[in-house]
């Protein structure tokens, strides 16, 4: 199965590194897909992007049909998840967020992401496990992404589908 990941262009990746880590392709922000922080402005007209920011703005973005939503604090907002389900927006889980903190903070974050993941999955929202890394030290191989997804609460099949099909869908749009 082909696997995909998305990172920021500051990682300076090449095809050799992608192949070594086991990915068919690693997409880069902003070359392959956009990333919009909506904390200062509302939803833009662009569709093929990952939108991030406060929940109020994200609901507008999900309603306007963006491809993916990244919730920075991983809090569950039922209205946002319902809007995402209606518009088939993908929920992005950044694994570099899991790698960044240490000890208790990391455990609490994993618990919070696990709750959000379970709720989103129950409501029919597809969840994409991505690294969204800004540096090479925060990148992972496909095996590590799958195991971290399992740590969050996904089963083996869902984790593989997420890294393969769902991440691929984000890149191919």
């Amino acid at each position: 199965m082909p696997y995909y990941d998305i990172v920021f262009d500051s990682c300076n990746i090449d095809d050799a590194l992608s192949a070594k880590l086991g990915f068919s392709r690693i997409g880069m922000i902003p070359n392959d897909i956009g990333f919009a922080d909506l904390s200062k402005r509302g939803a833009s007209g662009e569709k093929n992007l990952i939108a991030s920011g406060p929940v109020g703005n994200l609901i507008g973005a999900a309603g306007s049909g963006v491809s993916a939503i990244y919730i920075p604090d991983y809090q569950i907002d039922k209205k946002l998840i319902a809007t995402m389900a209606d518009n088939e927006a993908i929920l992005c889980v950044s694994l570099s967020d899991v790698m960044e903190p240490y000890g208790l903070k990391r455990s609490q974050l994993i618990f919070r992401i696990g709750k959000l993941f379970a709720y989103a999955k129950k409501e029919g929202v597809d969840v994409a496990f991505l690294t969204l890394a800004k540096a090479r030290s925060r990148m992972c191989s496909y095996m590590q992404i799958i195991e971290l997804a399992k740590l969050i609460g996904a089963d083996e099949d869902y984790a593989r589908r997420s890294v393969g099909e769902i991440n691929g869908r984000l890149l191919m749009q």
Partner: protein
């Protein structure tokens, strides 16, 4: 008697590991893994560095059960012996020869 089933994982380190520091590195990595996996699961995963394949590559053996936990823990480790570190797991297999033959 039941035979232990193992998995061998090829790991690439973000930092070079000179030959003279390999013992210290193995000790530091063991402590970091113990912290990430936890005491109650460490003995079941039973990780052990089998060989260094290059300056920045090594092969770790773990039990079949603990392989997933080992791979996840290697993604979460940020420091070894107080130095910044990061690890990519490139391949896992049931035989050491298969992972050692990995070409990338």
């Amino acid at each position: 008697m039941m035979r232990d089933k193992h998995r061998y994982v090829l790991v690439e380190s973000g930092i070079a590991i000179p030959e003279s520091e390999r013992d210290d590195f193995a000790f530091g990595l063991r402590n970091a893994l113990l912290h990430c996996i936890g005491e109650s699961n460490y003995h079941r995963a039973n990780p052990k560095i089998m060989e260094f394949a290059a300056q920045n590559r090594f092969i770790i053996r773990s039990s079949l059960w603990g392989c997933g936990q080992l791979v996840a823990a290697l993604a979460l480790i940020k420091k070894v012996n107080g130095n910044d570190a990061y690890f990519y797991t490139l391949r896992s297999s049931g035989t050491i020869r298969s992972v050692a033959d990995f070409k990338h």
